[in-house]
Each structure stands twice: as C-alpha cells, then as structure tokens.
C-alpha cells in the first residue's frame, strides 16, 4: 500500500535537493487512553509504574512522528528510568535533603544558615548542566530513525564550563549577554549530536540575535512581557536555519502570532476541561511544531551507518528532581 510517504522515501536514496516535511499523526484520544491507563496503574503501584508509563507516552509520540516516509522509534525502558531516578536520588536528592535539614537545625539566625544556602546554590548550579547533558545523551541514544540510533557525544565538563561562565556573564551584564549564552549552549547541544555516523552542524552566532533581544527588552513593559513569545519564535527560526545535516538545513516557520494563538488556545482548553484536556494539548503542540519544521536540501542517508553509543539515565532522574524540562530540538 504505497503512500505519499513512500514516494518521498524513494527520493531520499538519490541525492536530489528536496523539501522534507515532518508529520505528526498522533491523536489526542489515543494519548488520553494511554494517560488513563498510566494513571490507573500508577495509583495501584503507588507510583512505581510511572516510569513505564512515561516510556509509553514517549514511544507513542515518537512513533507518530514521521520524517521522509519513516517514523521515529523510542527505545528507552521503564527500568532504565527507574534506575536513573534512584541514582539521582543518591547523588543529588539525598545530599540536598541533608543540607535543607541542616538549615532547619541551625536555624535561620545562625551564620551557618547562609553558608548552607550558598552550598545549596552551588550544588544545584552544578547539577543543572550535568542533568542537561546527561538527559540529552540518554534521550538521543534511545531514539532511532530507519533503525539507526542518534547519539550525543558532548562532554559534561565542557558544558559545565559553558553553562557557568555564560551564567556569570549574563548576571554581570544585567542580562544582555543572554542571547550569546543561549546560542553557545545550543551550539554545544547540536554540534555534538549525531545520526549514526553523521554529525549535525550549527553555525548560529549570538551576535545575530542581540539586536532582536534588545528590541524585545525595550518592548517588555508596553506589551506586558508578551513580546517574548515573538522573541522565542524568532530564536526557533534562527536556530533551525542554522542547523544542518549533510547538505540540508532545517527550516522553521513558527511565528510569534502562531505560538501565541497555540498557547492561548491550550490555556483555554486546559481550564475548560479542568486539566483533562492535557493529552489534546500535547497533540496540538506536536502538530504545530511538526507542521512548521522542514528540512531543505540534498539528503543522502543510504550511506549512513549505525554508531550507537551507550548512555545512562541519571540525567533523566536529576531533571526530575530539578524540575527541568527538556526538548530534543
């Protein structure tokens, strides 16, 4: 049963310049069904099932996303997430808890209290970049397309330096260094990402965004900070345009207005359904981002070989404790 997707796939095997759209086929109803079963099993196992439930959701979202005629696949397991969570608990959760308890014991008046607070900031400050790198490495290693795994090979040490240096400069510059910091982080995340044996490339520069950033700072108060939605869309478009794979580039057509309408609609949906509409919100988002992202150029993937890398899920566990949210893009 040949479909439009099949015809696209045929073209991929010869390096002809083309436009490759991304489709998201998922439906809110199906995701809702998964979430309900996750809720039920999570309740009767007092939360232990939640790791397996999370895998079910990720698998569904990945397998409903299609690029050039083939869908993605997610290969993580609940057991990996559980072990990652336990490791994060031991390495991070418990030490942080001990510091917090010590704070209560010494009391707010004591000089030690402030010292402990600084320690807590330092610990959290180090763990955020560690979590980000580790989680990216894990998630990419568990994603595949056409049977070939993605991977991330950036070093944690390098990212800690980028992250903390950039954070300090942003503080010192009263925030104006932010576009440079953000772009530097994006460069790190993209340029060490691989599909099989082939690397991605990123050529974005912070200086291309600083003008827009300053404009939006100026517009913040008059627009009650809503202008930052437009800045976010601008950044997405810029980063996509400057991300390439072989001779092809990504292209994003998200717009501030489109994103605003999307998020506003999500908010209304959420309130009207008292939160039950969450699955439909996720699907709305996926559909929007997929329909506004394409790859343009000559792709020759037939020659790309498997080069799977190992990865553990500590970053996933850490990100849970730190309440961080990750995207793969």
């Amino acid at each position: 049963m040949a479909t439009e997707g099949d015809i696209q796939a045929q073209q991929l095997d010869a390096p002809v310049s083309s436009t490759y759209p991304i489709y998201f086929h998922g439906r809110g109803g199906s995701l809702f069904g998964i979430q309900i079963v996750n809720l039920f099993l999570g309740l009767i196992t007092i939360g232990i099932y939640s790791f397996w439930g999370r895998v079910k959701v990720r698998s569904y979202l990945a397998s409903q996303t299609e690029f050039a005629g083939d869908r993605f696949a997610y290969h993580g397991t609940g057991k990996e997430l559980l072990i990652g969570w336990l490791k994060a608990l031991v390495l991070f959760g418990i030490p942080l808890f001990i510091l917090a308890v010590l704070q209560v014991v010494v009391g707010i008046e004591s000089g030690l209290f402030d010292l402990l607070q600084i320690l807590i900031y330092i610990v959290v400050g180090f763990f955020i970049p560690i979590a980000m790198v580790n989680a990216r490495r894990y998630r990419l290693s568990r994603m595949s397309w056409r049977g070939i795994r993605f991977s991330f090979r950036g070093g944690v040490g390098e990212f800690i330096a980028i992250y903390i240096k950039g954070w300090l400069l942003t503080m010192v510059s009263l925030g104006f260094y932010y576009p440079y910091w953000q772009t530097r982080r994006q460069m790190f995340m993209i340029s060490d990402s691989y599909f099989g044996t082939q690397k991605f490339a990123f050529d974005g520069r912070g200086r291309d965004l600083i003008g827009s950033f300053i404009l939006h700072v100026a517009l913040s108060l008059p627009t009650f900070f809503l202008c930052w939605i437009w800045y976010w869309a601008r950044v997405q478009r810029y980063y996509a345009e400057h991300t390439s794979f072989q001779a092809a580039r990504f292209r994003s057509t998200v717009s501030g207005g489109g994103v605003f309408a999307l998020w506003f609609g999500n908010g209304i949906l959420f309130v009207l359904t008292l939160g039950l509409g969450w699955s439909w919100i996720v699907v709305r988002n996926m559909r929007y981002y997929a329909s506004h992202l394409t790859m343009v150029g000559a792709l020759d993937v037939a020659g790309i070989k498997q080069e799977a890398q190992t990865a553990t899920a500590i970053g996933e566990g850490l990100s849970g404790f730190l309440d961080l949210d990750f995207d793969l893009g």
């Binding site: 069904g33 397998s63 049977g147």
Partner: protein
C-alpha cells in the same frame, strides 16, 4: 487470505532501506529482500513495536540491539496473521480487539476515579489518624513550642499566677474525666485584643485577651477550653501535617511528570483538601469537647452562648464559600452542639461558684499604664 505482503527492511547497520516481500509461514516469517537475500524470522523471536493504532504501519524488530527492522504498511497484515496462525500471533497486536481495549481503558478510568475519591475522603484521614499516635510526644512538644513562640511571644504574655491558676482549675476539672494523658497542659494568655484561642501540639493552649474579655462566665471559657483541649488530645495539628504530606503524594501520583501549567492547579487542590480536613478537625473538637464538658458536669450552655457571640461577631458567610473556609459555618456548629446536648441527660454544677468572673479579665496589665502597678 493474503499470504504475501509488501514491506521495507532495515538491517540495523545502515540507513539503507530495502524493499521486501514477506510471507506468513508456519513457524516463521519469510522475508525476500530485493537483491536476492532471504531471511527467516521465527515468530517467537519477533517483537512488535509499532502498529497498535488504526492506520499505523506495523513495525517488527528482530535480534539484539541495534535490531533489524521490518515495516509493513498494511494493517490487514495483523488481521490475517491472527486468522491464519492464532497461536503464533498471540504476542502481536490484534486489530479486532481494539474495541475491547477501549472498554478496558474506560474501566481503568472509572477505577482510577473511584480510587482517588476513596483515598481522598477516607484513606488519607484514616491514615493520618492511625499514624499520628506514633509521632513521639517530644516531637509534638517541640513543634508546639515553636508555634508558641510565633503566636505568643514572651513579652506579650500575661503572667498573673493567681488568675492563671483559676483558668488551670477549669482545665483540670475537664481533664479529670479523660484519664491519664501524656501531655502537660499549660495555659498562656496573650495581651492582644484578638478574639481567638488556639491549641499548639504538646499541650499549650493560648487564649487572647480579646476573647477572655468577651466571656460572661466560667462556663463560656470552659466551652472554648474544651474545644482546644480536644485539638491537643486528638492530635489535630500532627494529623494535619500527615494529611498534607499524603495529599502531596496523591497529587504527585495523579500528575506524574506533567509539569508547568499544572503546578498552580496542584497547589490550589492541595489547599482545598487541607481546608476540608481542617473543617473535619474542628467539628471533631466541638463534639469531643462537648462530651468532655458533660462528663465533667460543666454546664454546656456556656459553650453554646459563646458560639452565639462568635456568630454575631462574624456576620454571615455565604454557604457557597464554605469550601474555602478552615472552619465550618458557625450556625452548623451551634446546631450540632444543640442536638448533642438534647440527646444527653447530664446534670451540672456551677464552676468556680465563689469567684466573680469579671475578676479574671484583669489578668493582663492595661497596656497604657504599665508603670502604674
């Protein structure tokens, strides 16, 4: 009955896609790749990882990671597989059973709602009540002391020993009916015009001057004290902490890892839950306090009179708003107490018969002329 299917094959070593013809044989899947190679995959070794939803292509994997992949775009494949080889196909998704899956999901949803409601209305309060006695008294006392420092700072306490002793007499009269208690009850009077009294875990009872001045006789204060004493004996503060922790767990279980937008609703849900539990505690303290008064032969009319004074003071709260209140509506409390009194037949003796009640109101030094003692 179609036995031959068309699909695509990935060998897991490169991203090169190859066309394949697939045959359903007795014990294995036979895959004829274009280019000539033939593969045989025993059914027991095949995993299906995609294709459980209508219109979705079927994805079969074979071998250890990185696995080989077979994609079949036609989901009539699964239907044929089940029809032809029902035993072999058992591990694979059956499209004919999709309706059944939906029904099971609906049942799971209803069961989840029932579980959640049951835990909220019954499970959590019961758990808190069972667990509270295991909390050591010394912990409750420490908690109470820190609460005390907050609401009754030392410099604001009225420490007239004779008058404090009179109030202590009232408490002792009540406690005599309760048997041994591991709590050491202490009365504190705070020099503020606040119309309130409260109990801190471990046995501390705080009465504000404002409330004391509004009592007409010893029986009215006894009504208030009985309520506060029962808060301590029933460990309501400790139970509140346990209930709050349990509710957090429950909410976390429901929400899972859905973050962001939801956290605000989560806070609100927790607060509403806590307020409801707190209303339960207040009603429990009312009822148990009244029973204690009756057992100690103290006239309960004082308790009722006091609540009537509170009601006049408060004005009306619309009953629609009662779900956000930490206390039940005063009319409701008065009605419950009256029906409890009507059902009992206790006699009473006058409290502190030789003492003029107005004297107790002098327990706090007047704030303007503290120099003139």
């Amino acid at each position: 009955m179609q036995l031959q299917w068309f699909g695509y094959y990935y060998d897991g070593q490169s991203a090169n896609r190859r066309s394949a013809r697939i045959y359903l044989e007795a014990g294995n899947l036979r895959i004829d790749l274009d280019g000539g190679a033939i593969l045989n995959w025993p059914y027991a070794e095949i995993r299906q990882t995609q294709g459980a939803y209508a219109g979705e292509q079927v994805r079969l994997e074979h071998g250890s990671e990185p696995a080989q992949v077979l994609l079949i775009d036609d989901d009539r494949f699964l239907a044929s597989f089940h029809e032809l080889l029902p035993n072999r196909a058992a591990a694979f998704h059956n499209p004919a059973k999709r309706l059944q899956r939906i029904q099971l999901t609906i049942i799971a949803g209803c069961a989840s709602i029932a579980l959640l409601l049951g835990t909220y209305f019954w499970g959590i309060p019961t758990l808190a009540t069972i667990a509270a006695p295991w909390v050591p008294v010394s912990w409750e006392e420490k908690l109470g002391e820190s609460m005390l420092d907050q609401v009754a700072p030392a410099e604001q306490r009225c420490s007239d020993p004779t008058r404090l002793a009179k109030i202590q007499e009232l408490v002792n009269a009540m406690l005599a009916t309760q048997g041994e208690s591991k709590y050491r009850f202490k009365i504190h009077v705070v020099n503020q015009p606040v119309f309130n009294a409260l109990a801190a875990p471990g046995g501390h009872i705080v009465i504000f001057r404002g409330l004391l001045e509004r009592t007409e006789n010893a029986e009215e204060l006894a009504g208030v004290l009985s309520h506060e004493v029962q808060h301590i004996l029933k460990r309501h503060v400790t139970r509140s902490l346990l209930e709050y922790a349990s509710t957090s767990f429950l909410v976390a279980a429901v929400i899972g890892d859905v973050s962001g937008m939801v956290s605000f609703g989560v806070e609100a849900a927790q607060m509403l839950a806590q307020m409801r539990f707190s209303r339960q505690h207040e009603l429990e303290a009312d009822e148990a306090g009244l029973k204690m008064l009756l057992a100690a032969q103290i006239d309960p009319a004082g308790m009722i009179a006091f609540f009537e004074a509170v009601r006049k003071e408060q004005g009306r709260m619309p009953s629609a708003l009662s779900f956000i209140s930490t206390h039940p509506q005063t009319e409701v409390r008065i009605a419950r107490l009256k029906s409890l009194i009507a059902a009992s037949r206790a006699s009473s003796q006058k409290l502190l018969p030789d003492y003029s009640w107005n004297d107790i109101k002098k327990i706090c030094p007047a704030l303007e002329n503290t120099t003139k003692q």
